[in-house]
């Protein structure tokens, strides 16, 4: 073998094979891009994935989506190129008895190129990223502020009354506006730039409605903001995404978007004065049971003690470590309970509301929980023994570190009769 032949064999794989393999590489690349795109399309078609991060339903999430899909695509293409190169190497440069290759330590121009190309790609990604970070943090276009407070393991919402006497720009029809306190589901008007102003009463929680925006941690001692907006009425699911202890998995939340007319109705209903159950009904017995068993922690606005006639005001800070318990004034107006972890609606009624078209959704949601639709199974289990259903620190013998206060709802030892009464009473809370 002459020197020159030998030289060719050592040096040529790069040049003589690129055209053939280049074609093959291109084909592989194209196929792979098609597969990637196909998967992306399929991902978009998945039905009823309520927390799908690729299905924006509002401006903020849409902006994120507009930025992220080209990034995913670019990453996919780069990945395919690397895989193709590895594939070519595996096929082409196996030891088939060729001579020992040149002991080259590199080619400077090639190396600089491989630094420059990713640098340019990343710069192209960086610029819109910085722009969107700023946009998603701006607060000067806010039309509605709602306070949100996390605690183990549920979210509380507090609608403030603004200086002009409105809530989110809506004035109550019948009464003067007063703050609305609710939990589990936050109701917002459609096409309104809502700003959640959030904090926490104990550990760090994170507020996340994937179809409306990215997540934002709610940290005790700090106030953080999160923009929410949607133009489509419906229920948008979310979940606490900062590990917050025992029942982190059971800390959920939902954002309900209503057309302005429906939002007005919701608002009026929330501010309606308390109506006591008719005397002699099971619900009336339930009211007494509620006052005796529940009202220390759970507020029902306007509730009067049936024996004393005085206003009942809860004082959860005496019993619960975070200092708060969900306000139950309009429990049956929302359709989940216990940190939005369980449905108040039976599966059929739930599907009817959740899958409703945007046009029909408002009326169905505002109907609340009717006796026929009530999911008694979960609610009864909860009332029988809450910590058995949702893991909580409520064992009275193990509360040394919290001065005897529970984290979550304790076991109350209610009788089945009392549970019947309470359910009858709660069914009227809407």
């Amino acid at each position: 073998m002459s020197h020159s032949e030998d030289h060719d064999r050592t040096m040529s794989p790069l040049t003589t094979t690129t055209s053939r393999l280049g074609r093959m590489g291109r084909r592989t690349t194209l196929t792979a891009i098609a597969v990637t795109l196909g998967s992306a399309v399929l991902a978009g078609c998945a039905t009823n994935a309520p927390q799908d991060t690729w299905k924006p339903a509002g401006e903020n999430a849409q902006k994120i989506q507009n930025l992220q899909w080209p990034v995913f695509l670019t990453a996919g293409v780069v990945g395919v190129i690397v895989m193709a190169a590895i594939g070519i190497i595996v096929l082409r440069f196996r030891d088939k008895g060729q001579p020992i290759p040149e002991q080259t330590h590199g080619k400077a121009w090639l190396e600089y190129m491989f630094i420059a190309i990713p640098a340019v790609i990343l710069a192209a990604i960086a610029i819109p990223t910085v722009g969107l970070v700023m946009a998603l943090n701006s607060t000067d276009d806010t039309e509605c502020i709602i306070n949100v407070t996390g605690q183990q393991w549920w979210w509380e919402y507090d609608y403030e009354v603004s200086a002009d006497g409105t809530i989110c720009g809506f004035a109550p029809s019948a009464v003067e506006a007063s703050p609305i306190i609710t939990s589990g589901q936050v109701v917002i008007p459609a096409n309104t730039k809502v700003l959640l102003r959030g904090t926490s009463r104990d550990v760090i929680h994170s507020y996340w409605i994937p179809r409306l925006n990215g997540k934002r941690d709610m940290v005790p001692g700090r106030v953080h903001f999160l923009r929410l907006e949607s133009d489509t009425p419906g229920i948008y699911a979310g979940q606490c995404t900062e590990f917050c202890g025992l029942s982190h998995a059971n800390m959920r939340m939902e954002t309900v978007v209503l057309e302005s007319g429906d939002f007005q109705k919701w608002l009026d209903n929330e501010l309606e004065p308390y109506s006591a159950p008719a005397a002699g009904t099971l619900a009336a017995e339930g009211e007494a049971t509620f006052v005796a068993q529940c009202s220390r922690c759970h507020q029902v606005n306007g509730l009067l003690d049936p024996n004393k006639g005085t206003l009942v005001v809860s004082y959860p800070d005496q019993f619960v470590y975070s200092g708060a318990s969900p306000n139950l004034t309009n429990l049956m107006g929302r359709n989940t309970f216990a940190g939005a972890s369980w449905d108040l609606l039976t599966p059929e009624c739930r599907a009817d509301v959740w899958d409703a078209t945007p046009e029909e959704f408002g009326a169905k949601y505002l109907a609340g929980v009717t006796p026929e639709c009530l999911n008694e199974i979960d609610l009864r289990e909860w009332l029988r023994n809450a910590p058995a259903k949702k893991p909580m620190y409520a064992d009275p013998t193990m509360l040394d570190e919290t001065d005897g206060k529970t984290r979550g709802m304790p076991y109350l030892g209610l009788s089945e009769d009392q549970i019947d009464q309470l359910i009858a009473y709660l069914l009227e809370r809407k």
């Binding site: 399929l42 998945a46 927390q51 590895i86 190396e111 990604i125």
Partner: protein, 668 residues
């Protein structure tokens, strides 16, 4: 170890002799220095970097199995909706300890095993600079890991996640002793990392063979050095944080008490200033291993060696400026988020350089796809996937959709399992014949490789899907209400991931079987140079003698061993390599020119005793302050004993006593 090479003068004069070994026959009671070279005491009191390396490996492998079982329990729990395998409490402990075990008790010490064993060999040294500190480091790690895991039996393990965010880590929210065990256990293993880091840095700076300039240093050693610097600066940060946590929990300090005016984000900053460099601490040693293996099996030098070195160093530096990308959702404010977002994109560049250079190393090569090579290629492919999904969440707004979901779990498992762990397995197969003189079976190795690759992709691949479909991490149950339907429903892919985890476990099991089978009696001894390797650790016997090299090699090339075997017979730009010697011949030549005066430091009781005092003090802080004082007394006694002990045993401690003690340089 305890071999003090002390050939007689006559032997030393004979030019081609192998040094004679003076072996003490008995030891002299507990107050005399241990001198055994065989039996359990030779392991317990050894300061030989190779024995310590093997012990690091064995203990780390044990914890790998423990962490793996924890992972399987997690996957069993999540295989279907509303899992009942574990309670919420046990599940939270399980994922906390799975991460803690895998990061601190498997990947880091397994990398330390390779570093301990091979850095001295790769730089042509006889041991590390501080052999007793080296032994102390190993025992501190070992006892720290055991201490950490005893929490399972003493009231429950830590349940706050490996990131242990405040204030969820304080006593009111985590009343068991788990978090105390976690903090103190990591403190102890942290001492091990810190001492190891200083030791290896000093070793590499001072003890390289003649002719080995920094840019002729093997790439694995380079990456280990970068990692040691990262450890040197990162461990103090977590040490401070862990001390604050300890004072918060045990002595009523208020570092993280919001009601006392503290900001819980302080912990996050401290943790991630440590935690992000930790990512590179985990992955760079494996990058080094891969960068050793690819050239060997491609028969080409590492493409762009200086660039790989500098990009490793660049990753080391820039790695300090990206910690807050773990906190994009924490509420840092837009300026910080934007800055850390861009810095995170920047670190993709040196990381990409590695991928490109590895690919270019293979391009045009003469490649043999042995099992170590398969694993090395596996690292390129799997790590690339992890790296690219990393780019998607360097885009901060996109990250607010992905962080704390399974998409992140998928990402970092592709990085840590696909990058670090596959790299370690590449190292097992590549260096096994060097360490034990036995080849691991290639056939079983291929089963091991493919089961691992299929298993890991089945396990972690679907997590991309469930993450993007909105499943958060660290949930002890998931519900069908949020699972969706159709091809991308969360339920199906959770099941696939759970099945995959068992395939992966089968892969790891195959490795263990391979080890057992390869070490059965009667299996053939491995050839001296089975892979036609390129670097210095192969210029000696397998396994290496206790003094590593009969003659300290003089280094003229980056790939010294290759250039001793092959000669360039081309001229000018034309190169033509021909084999002029086999590995056996090169090693025989070294043996023929053995040095006559080889001195090694002697074993010692003190390192293990000092290390033992640490968990005793740990138990003391948790259970009884008197125990703390007991541990402190043991520590003091050990420190004085250590300080007063000469680095080399006196001649009268041997039986029979030998001639005058010979002085040793650079050992302490």
């Amino acid at each position: 170890m305890a071999i003090i090479e002390r050939p007689s003068e006559e032997v030393a004069l004979a030019p081609s002799s192998v040094p004679e070994v003076a072996t003490p026959s008995t030891s002299y009671g507990i107050f005399r220095r241990p001198v055994e070279t065989t039996g359990w005491k030779s392991w317990l009191f050894t300061i030989d970097h190779k024995k310590l390396g093997i012990m690091y490996g064995v203990v780390a492998m044990f914890f790998f199995i423990v962490g793996g079982i924890e992972a399987l329990l997690i996957r069993l729990q999540l295989a279907g909706p509303n899992g009942t395998v574990l309670s919420a409490d046990k599940y939270n402990q399980m994922f906390t300890m799975h991460a803690t075990t895998m990061v601190f008790l498997f990947v880091m010490p397994m990398a330390a095993a390779f570093a301990n064993y091979f850095v001295p060999l790769q730089i042509g040294a006889r041991d590390v600079a501080f052999p007793r500190i080296n032994a102390f480091g190993f025992w501190a790690f070992c006892f720290g890991g055991i201490f950490l895991n005893t929490s399972w039996f003493l009231g429950g393990a830590a349940d706050g996640g490996w990131f242990m965010y405040a204030p969820n880590s304080s006593v009111a929210f985590s009343p068991s002793n788990g978090v105390d065990f976690w903090g103190l256990g990591l403190q102890i293993t942290g001492i091990a990392s810190l001492t190891g880091a200083i030791n290896l840095i000093v070793t590499v700076i001072n003890m390289r063979a003649p002719g080995m300039s920094l840019m002729k240093m093997p790439i694995f050693t380079w990456m280990v050095v970068v990692v040691q610097f990262l450890l040197l600066f990162a461990m103090p940060v977590i040490t401070v944080a862990l001390f604050m946590l300890m004072f918060q929990r045990s002595f009523d300090a208020t570092f993280f008490s919001v009601e006392a005016g503290a900001d819980p984000l302080l912990w996050q900053h401290l943790f991630w200033i440590f935690g992000h460099p930790e990512v590179y601490i985990i992955v760079l040693p494996s990058f080094g291993i891969v960068s050793e293996i690819l050239p060997v099996f491609s028969k080409k030098p590492l493409f762009g060696y200086p660039l790989v070195v500098f990009s490793g160093a660049a990753i080391g530096f820039v790695g300090w400026g990206v910690w807050a990308h773990h906190m994009f959702a924490s509420g840092l404010g837009p300026i910080s988020v934007a800055a850390f977002s861009v810095a995170t994109m920047a670190i993709a560049i040196p990381t990409g350089v590695k991928i490109v250079n590895w690919t270019m190393t293979m391009w045009g090569g003469k490649i043999k796809f042995t099992v170590p090579m398969l694993y090395a290629v596996g690292v390129i492919v799997q790590f690339t996937i992890g790296g690219l999904s990393g780019v998607t969440h360097s885009v901060a707004p996109s990250d607010t959709q992905q962080t704390d979901t399974y998409y992140i779990v998928a990402h970092f498992h592709y990085v840590i399992f696909g990058g670090a762990v596959l790299g370690l397995f590449a190292g097992f197969y590549y260096w096994w014949p060097k360490m034990f003189g036995k080849m691991l079976s290639e056939r079983l190795g291929r089963w091991n490789f493919w089961l691992t690759i299929i298993g890991m992709n089945l396990t972690f691949g679907p997590m991309h899907v469930v993450g993007l479909q909105g499943q958060p991490r660290r949930m002890y149950v998931w519900t069908e209400n949020r699972a969706g339907e159709g091809f991308f429903n969360i339920g199906f892919w959770n099941l696939v991931a759970s099945i995959g985890s068992f395939v992966l476990a089968l892969g790891v099991l195959t490795f263990l079987i391979n080890v057992v089978i390869s070490h059965r009696k009667g299996t053939a001894k491995a050839p001296l140079d089975p892979w036609d390797a390129r670097s210095l650790e192969w210029i000696t016997t397998s396994p290496p003698k206790e003094h590593n090299f009969d003659r300290i090699p003089t280094v003229g090339h980056l790939d010294e061993f290759f250039h001793r075997k092959y000669e360039d017979r081309g001229s000018g730009d034309h190169h033509e390599f021909h084999q002029v010697a086999t590995g056996e011949e090169v090693v025989a030549n070294e043996e023929a020119h053995a040095e006559s005066h080889i001195h090694l430091p002697s074993p010692s009781y003190w390192p293990i005793l000092l290390a033992l005092s640490l968990p005793i003090m740990g138990y003391g802080i948790i259970f009884n302050l008197f125990l703390l004082f007991g541990g402190a007394v043991l520590a003091l006694v050990s420190l004085y004993g250590w300080g007063l002990e000469p680095h080399t045993a006196g001649d009268d401690e041997f039986d029979p006593p030998t001639g005058a003690a010979l002085e040793v340089a650079a050992h302490g």
